[in-house]
């Protein structure tokens, strides 16, 4: 089951936020990602969901959807 695009992005952002630890003097302020990406649109009862997720496997097979690419820039929300 592939995740909706929002869930994937939120998970990526949360993983960066989780890098901050007490006592650590470095902090990530900006993150640029460039990933192979799998996208599709799934029909729901009365709407459509844009599904976007990282590839299922490291080595795609002929049965896997063609991969696109996601370039994402996340920036820290200033206080």
């Amino acid at each position: 089951m592939r995740r909706p695009l929002a869930s994937t992005i939120l998970e990526l952002a949360a993983s960066v936020a989780a890098t901050r630890r007490p006592g650590l003097s470095l902090a990530v302020r900006r993150l640029e990602l460039n990933l192979p990406f799998e996208c599709n649109v799934v029909r729901r009862a009365d709407s459509f969901d844009f599904v976007g997720d990282v590839p299922r496997w490291r080595w795609p097979t002929a049965f896997d959807p063609l991969l696109g690419r996601l370039q994402l820039i996340l920036e820290e929300i200033a206080e």
Partner: protein, 262 residues
Amino acid sequence: MNGQDPGLPIEQFIQALTAQLDRVQSAMAMKARAGLPLTFAVKDLRLDLRAHVDMVNSIVLIRPAAPGEQEASTLHLDITTITRPMIEENTREAQTSGEPSLKQVLGPTLSEDEQRRLEWIGVQSVSQLQQLHSESGEAAIERAADIPVNRLRLALERSSQPFVTHVEQMPPDQTAPDGSMLLRIRGANLLRDMPPLVHIDNQPVTVVSASPRELVVAPMTLPATGTVSVQTAPGVAGLRNFQLGPRLQSSLAPPSGAEVMQ
């Protein structure tokens, strides 16, 4: 969406994508408000999507590529955040709110495809069509929307005729000076150069106030159902069947009751 699926109209495709991005921004904003120490916002997003682009009449369809479809196109989508002033600057003024849609007024005068092509050039309401006509002329619309001139003329003519969308009884505290009940008639093109002539079931009624989008009339009697006719010029009138509800708000008879006579 699989290989047999015809695809999704591009508007719905973009809506599905932006709905996800809105979800991301909302979730991140909530985290920030909750006081979490480090939260991020999506600054820029670029998506290279392997998909097939197809056209059925005037509808552009997008279908993500299925496995093995190496010949699929690549769509590059660049999405960035914009500020509220930028949204307002790029959004048409809400001057058309409450106005009947182009489809309502034109009915079958223009095909779905032709109406869609008008939307492509930014025409979504009758007032926009009339404004574009007065500013750019018939030939420009014909070229830009690829609509045959005779059909465009017909649509322009129809778009300038009176069109009634609602008939409703006004609240009891808003009555005529003699205390009689008032009816509000809403629609488009209800006022031209001369005061409109309004009839209910072929009986003339007094017009208390008039604007292009709304008339207030004082009928001698208030029928529960009937037909209202608004004549704005000799031989140019809009008709609408109506049914007043038991309370203040009324509802119209089915749209089949609407017609324009000339």
